[in-house]
């Protein structure tokens, strides 16, 4: 089972260089290179989780993750974005790669601050950035080993050179990562032994994320089914991830290893690795992510099938709930008669707390803070593929909105807005700064500047086609209509088939 495309039958894969017909000789990136294929490997998802855990254990990166990352509330969105970004970085298109690198750098330049212990962190710190590349490389090597396809020395060196080239494209000066693979392992072991800590981000990923992983959009209709599956799979993913970490680190961080975890881990990687044997294109990480991030009412080419699947899922979920036996089948008086249905009163409108959790609190820490609005700006500019100066305009508008919110809602003066503060104020969010955000968002979405959003511009932002009810009489989406819809969503807490997938989707 180690053989898929090899030309040396009987030999274990990796003992000879794999055919790389599609790759230009000496190319570091592009289709056919090991680097590029890596991101299409089904095992890469597991390796990426592992790499993220190792990154989170780095004090600087962990602090940035805890403060700014949306992976707790929007894990699927974040995973999709990360993967797309890696694929661009590994693709053939040189200008696209450079733009992506510049975008990533701008994004990371915005992530800095101080952690809970008042130590400063900076996502542009060269040592921290080198560590990210190191964990990805090391996790890839581990992934190949666990899934029964160990890399030989030459292949490993080639992959290492590609990751170093990746780092160079990011504009990092050489020197942070050792020149040769021989020196890499001592560097890696030293960081693991001396720098990694049992950070808050690490604990959040290991002990919170997998047990509370929200359903991907497609499965939102069947929360019962999702919760049941998660109850089994969540702890298993945690165990597998912990068991795959370097042993020295496990010991230092006090992560207990369960008996049999190693076998489970090997089994998981082998099973994922076996997915390679399926016909081409059946399971690529890309396709899976596409499916996971699609919302059932998108009009993607697969949209109709997907809508039907989503619809079927909803009905299946309903049946499942109906046939689940009641906990107490006796003629007990209807409990909770007064409690229920309060949210039902105004159809299509969320309760304040629900809106807070679903839309405002992007980082999922229970507070509305600048990182939450920065995460929105990040998502929006990522979707629109913004360059400077548009990206900065959008961030600046969000920053002004943040100051407006802070002065209006932060009643206890701790610098952030709690769910309660938000709910109690039953706020009228539609201050001038929010309207400004709507205007700037319209401007940057309207790429050709003709003062209406046409079909392509709409698709870039919402990843789906126009809906007829949005358009005015001449079939365009005007500035006024766009701003009105955005404000109805943000300030009126109206559900919206367009904005919900944009900002509320997991």
């Amino acid at each position: 089972m180690t053989q898929t495309t090899g030309t040396n039958p009987g030999g274990a894969e990796g003992t000879a260089p794999e055919p790389e017909s599609a790759a230009r000789p000496g190319a570091l990136f592009g289709p056919g290179t090991r680097f590029h294929r890596l991101f299409d490997d089904p095992c890469w998802a597991a390796a990426m989780i592992r790499a993220t855990v190792l990154e989170a254990a780095h004090p600087q990166i962990g602090a940035a993750l805890v403060d700014s990352s949306t992976f707790v509330t929007h894990p699927w969105r974040r995973m999709t974005n990360t993967l797309r970004s890696l694929q661009r970085m590994a693709g053939t298109d040189e200008p696209a790669r450079e733009r992506e690198a510049a975008r990533l750098n701008r994004m990371h330049a915005r992530l800095n601050g101080t952690d809970a212990a008042n130590r400063p962190y900076d996502a542009m710190d060269p040592a921290a950035r080198a560590w990210v590349v190191a964990t990805m490389f090391e996790s890839a090597v581990t992934m190949f080993r666990w899934s029964g396809r160990p890399l030989d020395q030459a292949a490993m060196e080639e992959l290492y050179a590609q990751f170093r080239a990746f780092q160079a494209v990011m504009g990092d000066l050489p020197g942070q990562l050792p020149e040769s693979l021989k020196d890499f392992w001592p560097y890696y072991d030293r960081v693991v032994e001396e720098e990694l800590e049992n950070t808050e981000a690490l604990r959040t990923i290991l002990y919170h994320l997998f047990d509370h992983l929200p359903a991907p959009p497609l499965l939102e209709g069947v929360p019962t089914l999702w919760a049941a599956g998660r109850a089994l799979a969540g702890p298993a993913i945690g165990v597998v991830t912990v068991a795959s970490l370097p042993e020295t680190f496990r010991r230092r961080a006090g992560l207990t290893e369960l008996p049999g975890a190693e076998a489970l881990t090997q089994g998981a990687y082998l099973a994922l690795g076996a997915a390679r044997l399926l016909p081409d294109g059946w399971i690529t990480t890309e396709n899976l992510l596409d499916l996971l991030s699609l919302s059932p009412d998108s009009d993607d080419p697969r949209g109709r099938t997907l809508a039907a699947v989503g619809d079927g899922m909803k009905r299946f979920g309903a049946l499942l709930r109906l046939i689940t036996p009641l906990p107490d089948a006796s003629d007990r008086p209807g409990a909770g008669a007064s409690a229920g249905r309060s949210a039902q009163g105004d159809a299509g409108r969320r309760g304040a707390e629900e809106f807070f959790d679903a839309v405002l609190d992007q980082t999922g820490n229970g507070y509305l803070d600048w990182p939450d609005l920065a995460a929105m700006a990040r998502e929006l500019s990522g979707r629109l593929d913004l360059d400077e100066p548009e990206e900065t305009r959008l961030y600046a508008a969000c920053a002004a909105w943040w100051r407006e919110l802070q002065s209006a809602l932060d009643t206890d003066g701790d610098g952030r807005i709690s769910r309660q503060e938000y709910a109690e104020a039953v706020p009228s969010l539609a201050g001038p700064a929010l309207i400004r955000v709507a205007e700037v968002l319209f401007d940057v979405t309207d790429a050709d500047g003709n003062q209406t959003i046409d079909a392509d511009e709409y698709r870039a932002l919402f990843r789906t086609g126009f809906r007829r009810e949005l358009l005015d009489a001449d079939g365009t989406y005007t500035r006024a209509a766009f701003i009105k819809d955005f404000l109805a969503f943000m300030a009126g807490r109206q559900r919206s088939s367009a904005f919900d997938p944009l900002l509320a989707q997991a």
């Binding site: 909803k314 009905r315 109906l322 046939i323 003629d331």
Partner: protein, 271 residues
């Protein structure tokens, strides 16, 4: 057994021209011998059924469950396309708290117990009313689930009126109409009806009220405007498929007579 009475107004004197409005169903030309398209049942007599047996009122409600299932099946096999059942009115909240609680539990159990069967028979289920905060959230959830589950079914449509009031529906429709900003001159019966809950529901052709009671009791007021009413004296827990078929029969005979009058008066004004 049944006390029959036309509820639409006093019987017309012989030979008088009955100014019968043109009802939607007259257009489809299926007036004679036709199975009524939409049958509604007011399920009356559960309490009396129990009292006659010295049982608590609640056991009458429990006995009603079997009738409901029986009648749903009878209506489906008789070719009725729309069946509405009046399960609980907005006025029923005034009953003793214990009885209301029991009813809420019973309905929940019945819904859950029969959901797969209703779905398997291709019946589309939905619930009319149900806006009251006193309805437990779990029950509302089950209602929504059954509606979702059976939403694609194309067999008979079963509408369960729960926490329903005919006047309230009309008031709600008026509110919705005003909110939509319709011009007063533009409002006619059809455009008004479009604002009622489940506007796709056709007019009720036949209402069956068991136990001999002869009242409307605020039931689907708009939709029963031209309905025929029959009042079998049998109590709802004793009402069975045979009684139901008798009612359909009564409707068809009565209808044939009406068809004759209508054809003479309205059909060919010149002859």
């Amino acid at each position: 057994m049944a006390v029959e009475q036309v509820f639409g107004g006093p019987s017309p004197p012989a030979g008088a021209v009955v100014p019968r409005p043109v009802v939607p169903r007259s257009a489809d030309g299926e007036r004679t011998d036709a199975t009524p398209r939409h049958v509604a049942c007011v399920m009356d007599g559960n309490g009396r059924w129990a009292a006659r047996r010295d049982l608590p009122r609640t056991s009458g409600h429990r006995a009603a469950e079997a009738t409901v299932i029986d009648i749903v099946e009878a209506a489906r096999s008789a070719g009725v396309r729309w069946l509405s059942l009046y399960a609980f009115s907005t006025e029923n909240w005034r009953r003793p708290g214990e009885e209301v609680d029991y009813l809420l539990c019973l309905v929940r159990r019945v819904v859950r117990k029969h959901a797969p069967l209703l779905h398997a028979r291709g019946i589309r289920c939905r619930f009319l009313g149900g806006a009251d905060a006193r309805i437990p959230a779990e029950l509302a959830r089950d209602f929504a689930d059954l509606t979702t589950l059976t939403s694609r079914n194309r067999g008979m449509t079963l509408t369960v009126a729960f926490d329903h009031g005919g006047r309230r529906d009309i008031v709600e429709a008026a509110r919705s109409l005003i909110r939509s900003g319709a011009a007063p001159e533009a409002v006619d019966e059809d455009s008004f009806a479009a604002h009622l809950p489940f506007p796709d529901t056709p007019d009720v052709d036949l209402v069956i009220r068991t136990s001999g009671e002869q009242r409307i009791s605020n039931f689907m007021l708009w939709q029963v405007a031209y309905a025929e009413w029959v009042f079998p004296s049998v109590l709802w827990p004793d009402f069975r498929a045979t009684h139901f078929l008798e009612c359909l029969n009564t409707y068809q005979r009565r209808h044939r007579r009406f068809g004759g009058v209508a054809a003479d008066t309205n059909g060919e004004p010149g002859s």
